[in-house]
Amino acid sequence: MLNVEMDSGKTVLLMGNEAIARGAIEAGVDFCTAYPGTPSSEIIDTLAKVASRFSLYVEWSTNEKVALEAAGGASFAGLRSICAMKHQGVNVCSDFIFSTNLAGTHGGFVLVACDDPSAHSSTQEEDTRNFARFADIPLLEPSNVQEAKEMTKWAFDLSERLKVLCMIRSVTRVSHARGNVKLDEIKREKRSIDLSNSPYSSGFPSISARHSSLHEKLDRAEEEFNRSAFNEYFGPDDASIIIITSGTGWMYSREAVKILGLDEIGILKLGTTWPVPEKLVLTHLKHADEVLIVEETDSFLEQNVKVIAAENRLKINFYGKRSRDIGDIGEINVDIVINALKRLKGIDYTARNEEYVRITKKLGKALPPRMLSFCAGCPHRASLWAIKRAIRWDGRDAYVCGDIGCYSMGIGPTGFMQLKTLHCMGAGIGVANGLGNLRIFGFDRPIIAIAGDSTFYHACIPALINAKHNGASILFIILDNCTTAMTGFQPHPGVAKDAMDRLTPIIKLEDVCRGIGLQVEISDPFEIKKTTKTIYEMLQLEGTRVIILRRACGIAEAKRKRVYVDQTKCIGEECGCVRFCSRVFNCPGIMWDERAGKARIDEVVCNGCGACAQLCPRDAIVVDE
């Protein structure tokens, strides 16, 4: 039995995302949707694993807009529904947020947005809390794993009471933290489908009535938030210096105050941050002369608190992101709060003496960096190598538009720096629509766009139709590794299984492309010479055309065949290949054996794909079949 399905009363180790899933289960969720994205994917991964036990409907949707709309449909019918996504997903589904907020809901409807401050596994960092304020929907911010569970559970009740979509904003350090979680009772309730409250519309034709009703709902939320147990004040009742914080900032603030021994400082921890619980905040602003605001990414809380202070003509010195005391970009941590408090109080603190810091800094600087690379056995390395060779043969300096997935790393050395653009899901083929239609302006470099299989279903199809319809000249290369690899191997419409492990018909990439009327060629990237030739030949054509490079992800389908260098055949530096396998092809599984002056396979790292064996000019690399 998984920790997440254990009995009430037990304390177990859960990841933040599992805790969110458990909170939804305890609330009696019925309908669960998402498109995978780090750091959010494990919410639906977890719910999918227990779907049959708790009679849930769980799906991996093709993108976040469809996911939120599907969950909305289930909510309109009276079911409790949850939709999870990474921060960028909220951009994708925002159109629906801005009508469902006005339309209202029926069954509890919860959107979980997982932000990635510092963009550990994203192409940008953004603060999705702005969407809650933008769309007038209630916002909850868990500060740790246990609270992630409690808030998710409560969000369903709140949504159902107010009849509005509720948003939970998690971050990497909550979603991907693991900690003790005390489990509570699971309430399974058979809900009947009831669409009698229809129509659900954004308000047309009575927009003003809907909009004012939404504002009334927010007023009621604020009343509840003023009394909510998720908001708590710690410290002296009359503290003249207070910290106001939310999310992870609460844990960091508490520790910073403890390390510095500043018991005189009060901390107001807010878990419900939009609408701001004004009465509660005002109570504590009134005894403060100086306020430090600790939050992650944008100055969201800071701006909202300052409005309250201004409206009440309070004379307070504020410190936070606008004063740069808490960094206005990237992730925050205990040290950032410690440094802000040191400046504010004029005190000194260092964890280590200067000499120690000086020595470690010097040593640290000399260490080799560890750049991200494609895994050993990754088909993308071979695909990008073939693209690079074909572009060289072609000689017209083809320009490659990149997209979002593991292959995004093709912008760096591991993908031979082939990608020249990298934006959001589907933007590769989207941008190529512009570049591929510049002939009348005298631009004639060939344009290539690449995208992965999951990205194709998510956001490439309208752009591909647009390209065909408007006559853009683009070679579109789909890197099909038969899964959603970067987020943990979730299924997509191109594989035979769905989230609940049911067999489903495969919607083939080639069928979709041919249905649009496009020429499609298919090649195995591990047949590197054939693939290079196919790309070269397709580059010579005009119009929109497609190559599918199909080979399963090396991690999902590890072969673990033994691959080794026959050092009697490898002639080292005399070969003239200039260490092709280890230096140029750049697979982390191939190393240079300094002592022998020859190549060697690192058995700890090698995945056994054997792609390198085809490229060695001396046939010195052996694959044990």
């Binding site: 550990h120 933290a177 205990v334 120690y356 640290g364 560890r370 750049m371 240079w592």
Partner: protein, 209 residues
């Protein structure tokens, strides 16, 4: 069992694919079995792709801690890879830190391609010895290879931690946690036991600055 220092701050560092995250889960589950508050903060997502991976694991008798250890405040570092261990000490080490290190390098792509040199492992370990209280070097990859699977070096290292006496979690709790996570996979328990035994044989190398 009470902690001498609360919270106890442990860092597991290495490279994506070495099983760092599973190792941190085993230690945390064992900690919960023994009644501690445990939190793990970890960065991955890109971790299977050759990047450095670090798990912060914090144990407390009193309350749930934040997921990130502040600068310079690590008590124990479990280093799966030499350069990553020194990199971790750079940010989180202090003269009281205790270290268990696997000396087997995983070469960064820039080193494999010959653009940058990897430092001599002996020099890395000597540098570490000067910066922390104790260093125990365990050839965990070799031990794992001897058992037929290099992947279980992570369980050898967890065994070393369990047998070091530096962390007040019972060996039984570790073993139970390993069985929970890898049901029916005896090799992991075997690798753990090999680690427990190996660490007992190693003499501490004292700090010499």
């Amino acid at each position: 069992m009470r902690l001498e220092k609360d919270p106890l701050n442990l860092i597991i560092c290495g490279v994506g694919g070495q099983g760092n995250i599973l190792a941190s889960q085993i230690i945390a589950s064992a900690g919960i079995k023994d009644g501690f508050y445990v939190i793990i903060g970890e960065t991955y997502g890109a971790s299977q792709r050759g990047g450095a991976v670090m798990s912060h694991l914090r144990l407390s008798d009193e309350m749930q801690q934040g997921p990130l250890i502040p600068e310079g405040l690590s008590d124990i570092i479990l280093g799966f890879e030499p350069v990553e261990t020194l990199r971790t000490i750079h940010s989180f080490g202090n003269p009281k830190t205790k270290v268990i290190i696997n000396p087997r390098p995983i070469y960064p792509i820039e080193v494999l391609s010959g653009r940058i040199e990897y430092p001599q492992v002996e020099e890395v370990i000597d540098a570490i010895k000067k910066l922390v209280e104790v260093v125990k070097v365990v050839e965990a990859t070799k031990i794992a290879k001897g058992m037929g699977e290099t992947m279980v070096q992570n369980m050898v290292m967890v065994g070393c931690l369990a047998g070091s006496g530096w962390i007040p979690i019972r060996i039984d709790s570790f073993e139970e946690a390993i069985r929970d996570v890898f049901p029916g996979k005896e090799l992991n328990s075997k690798a753990f036991k090999a680690g427990v035994e190996r660490i007992m044989d190693i003499v501490d190398s004292d700090m010499d600055i």
